[in-house]
């Protein structure tokens, strides 16, 4: 995902300096993606059921693991040349 800018933003020297400072400020050093990184670095999101509490990020990882495992079990595997 890239951060969109109005065309006029890119004309002045000030705008170019602002873009360069954004590049330097980006924790990845990659233009435009700092905005996404700030989502993960922002206010934490948690799911709470009684005594059980889990971060959305950890839950996503665990669910993804289960999904990948199930897919690996059920998806057909491409066959290769057989040799007796």
């Amino acid at each position: 995902m890239r951060v969109r800018h109005k065309p006029s933003d890119c004309r002045s020297r000030g705008a170019i300096r602002a873009r360069l400072s954004l590049l330097r400020a980006s924790p990845t050093g990659l233009y435009g993606v700092g905005a996404i990184a700030s989502i993960l670095g922002g206010k934490p999101h948690y799911i709470h059921f009684g005594w059980f509490l889990i971060s959305v990020a950890n839950l996503v990882v665990i669910v993804l693991m289960i999904v990948v495992f199930v897919l690996a079990l059920v998806l057909p595997f491409p066959g290769g040349r057989e040799k007796r």
């Binding site: 995902m1 990020a57 693991m65 690996a72 007796r84």
Partner: protein, 532 residues
């Protein structure tokens, strides 16, 4: 004429036995049994590919040193690669472990392969854990101050000091990776030696009337597979897997980056929460803080050291190995530095140290009570008039020293030039409420499943879920010996994971759950088709 006999040297014996066990076509095969036809088989190689990227990115971080990634955009990106490849490593290793469990992969003299694999998993947890401790940011400060209690309760903390950043960094970049890589290599060699475990018998009750020679219905897992094989390119698979993991981690690193919350310093604490700093420092001087009364491995405090059961304490058995004298280490010795150029402070220190214990206790009690209504004027603490002896002046100067950053240096100073041991500043920080308040906002407390959480919205150490689970349930939730007991439980469970091939009830689960029918469905289809 007698035939030439090869001299029986150690080198020759080793070469011959290595070649017998691992002839080149077994070590680098170009064919594999046809039953190896499921996506679940790719997770082993994806785990190894992730490990290669973890080690590669780790080597770059080592080349440029431990502070590089905090101050450089490229360094931060390499750290992100390291983090996401480590996440991928655990992700695929866990799925690989599940798959091997459901396939009962320990059959046919493969128990050792399973056991070494499980040891790899446990070693990887220790390696990743020391990585979190070596980050030198808020996350590592919090994790180390919390993890110390579990390790100290198990007696391990007296040798493996999680507050000693230099020690943890060396474990993370040298010892543990060396052990992990060694076990991974042994695991891979065992897989090559024994071969991939064949399917469980097609039918538990009877053999089919007819069998296709390439698809025996009940292959003996202890014997080499003699059925049908298919072409296979081991190296190509590994290279492709490394490429995929590289691509995925580059995308994840570029898009999501990696967390790096600034560490708390004594100076930032003393400036942001001077009242908390003062009350903590006063409790250190009075000998009533958590650190002052901790017990082994820091202090000889009677009745301390958690018990695993009854009065059996591994912490007490390990003894006091990292001695800490809170009043001297956190207050009197640091104040001695400005005291050299401040006659009033020097006089106050002399007066305090020459006073009787009861006199000191009276001053401390009075001052502690007065701190309940402390206010600050131009940065200096103001308390209601009372009999505090030299304590008020000492505490005012200690706050000054802390706010200016002098105490950060004084707590690290050990008479040597290079400093890597942060035990004292971390203990002092952990005694205050400020660090805990910041951690609570990040949901990092034990009651918040904190050990598996990461700052911000990043995935954390999800692999510590079972460890952190015990802290949420009775009786451990309220037990004074929770750390010692949970460590004992986790040690037993880890041992059980390693010994799965020998646990009667557990090792029979894969046959009952029948997930293996999905893994080897093509093979079973061929067997059943031949029997018709």
């Amino acid at each position: 004429m007698s035939a030439y006999e090869e001299p029986s040297t150690w080198t020759g014996r080793l070469r011959r036995s290595a070649l017998r066990a691992f002839p080149p076509d077994r070590l680098l095969p170009e064919h594999q049994p046809t039953y190896v036809s499921s996506w679940v088989y790719v997770f082993g190689v994806l785990t190894i590919a992730s490990l290669i990227v973890v080690v590669g990115s780790g080597i770059v971080l080592v080349i440029f040193g431990p502070t590089w990634w905090h101050v450089s955009g490229i360094g931060h990106f390499v750290n992100s690669l390291h983090l996401w490849s480590a996440e991928a490593f655990f992700f695929f290793m866990a799925i690989h472990l599940w798959a091997k469990f459901f396939m009962a992969a320990w059959r046919g003299r493969r128990a050792l392969t399973w056991m070494i694999g499980a040891i790899c998993f446990l070693t990887a947890i220790a390696t990743a854990f020391t990585g979190y401790l070596s980050q030198q940011n808020f996350d590592s400060q919090w994790i180390s101050t919390q993890a110390k209690d579990g390790l100290n309760a198990s007696g391990v903390g007296s040798v493996f000091n999680v507050l000693n950043t230099g020690q943890m960094l060396l474990w993370h970049v040298l010892l543990l990776p060396l052990v992990l890589i060694l076990f991974v290599v042994i695991h891979i060699l065992l897989v090559r030696l024994r071969g991939v475990v064949p399917p469980l018998p097609a039918s538990a009750r009877r053999s089919p009337p007819k069998e296709e020679p390439g698809y025996p219905s009940a292959p003996d897992p202890a014997l080499e597979w003699t059925g049908a094989k298919r072409h296979y390119d081991l190296i190509k698979e590994l290279v492709v897997a490394v490429g995929v993991i590289m691509l995925v981690t580059v995308i994840l690193g570029a898009v999501f980056s990696s967390p790096d919350e600034k560490p708390v310093t004594i100076a930032s604490w003393a400036n942001a929460a001077p009242a908390d700093f003062l009350s903590t420092a006063t409790s250190e001087l009075a000998g009533t803080s958590d650190s002052a009364t901790y017990g082994p491995p820091y202090t000889h405090t009677p009745g301390t050291g958690q018990n695993v059961f009854d009065s059996f304490s591994l912490a007490r058995l390990a003894g006091v190995r990292i001695p800490v004298d809170s009043s001297s280490d956190f207050v009197l010795r640091p104040l001695g530095i400005p005291g050299k150029s401040n006659p009033a402070l020097a006089a106050a220190l002399t007066r305090y140290q020459s006073a009787s214990a009861s006199q000191r206790r009276l001053w401390m009690d009075n001052y502690t009570k007065a701190l309940g209504s402390v206010s600050f004027s131009a940065g200096a603490p103001v308390v209601s008039p009372g009999n505090y002896g030299p304590v008020a002046l000492m505490m005012r100067d200690l706050l000054n020293q802390a706010q200016s950053g002098g105490l950060d240096g004084a707590l690290l100073a050990s008479g040597r030039f290079y400093q890597t041991d942060y035990t004292k500043p971390l203990l002092l920080l952990a005694d205050g409420a400020y660090l805990g308040d910041l951690a609570q906002k990040q949901n990092l407390l034990g009651s918040q499943w904190g050990m598996m959480n990461e700052t911000g919205n990043y995935p954390g150490q999800a692999w510590l879920w079972l460890y952190t689970f015990w802290y949420q349930v009775p009786p451990f939730k309220t037990s004074d010996n929770a750390d010692a007991q949970i460590w004992a439980i986790m040690a037993l469970l880890s041992l059980a994971l390693v010994c799965v091939p020998f646990l009667p009830l557990i090792k029979s689960l894969p046959r009952r759950l029948r997930v293996y029918r999905l893994v080897w469905r093509d093979y079973y289809r061929r067997v059943e088709r031949a029997g018709e």
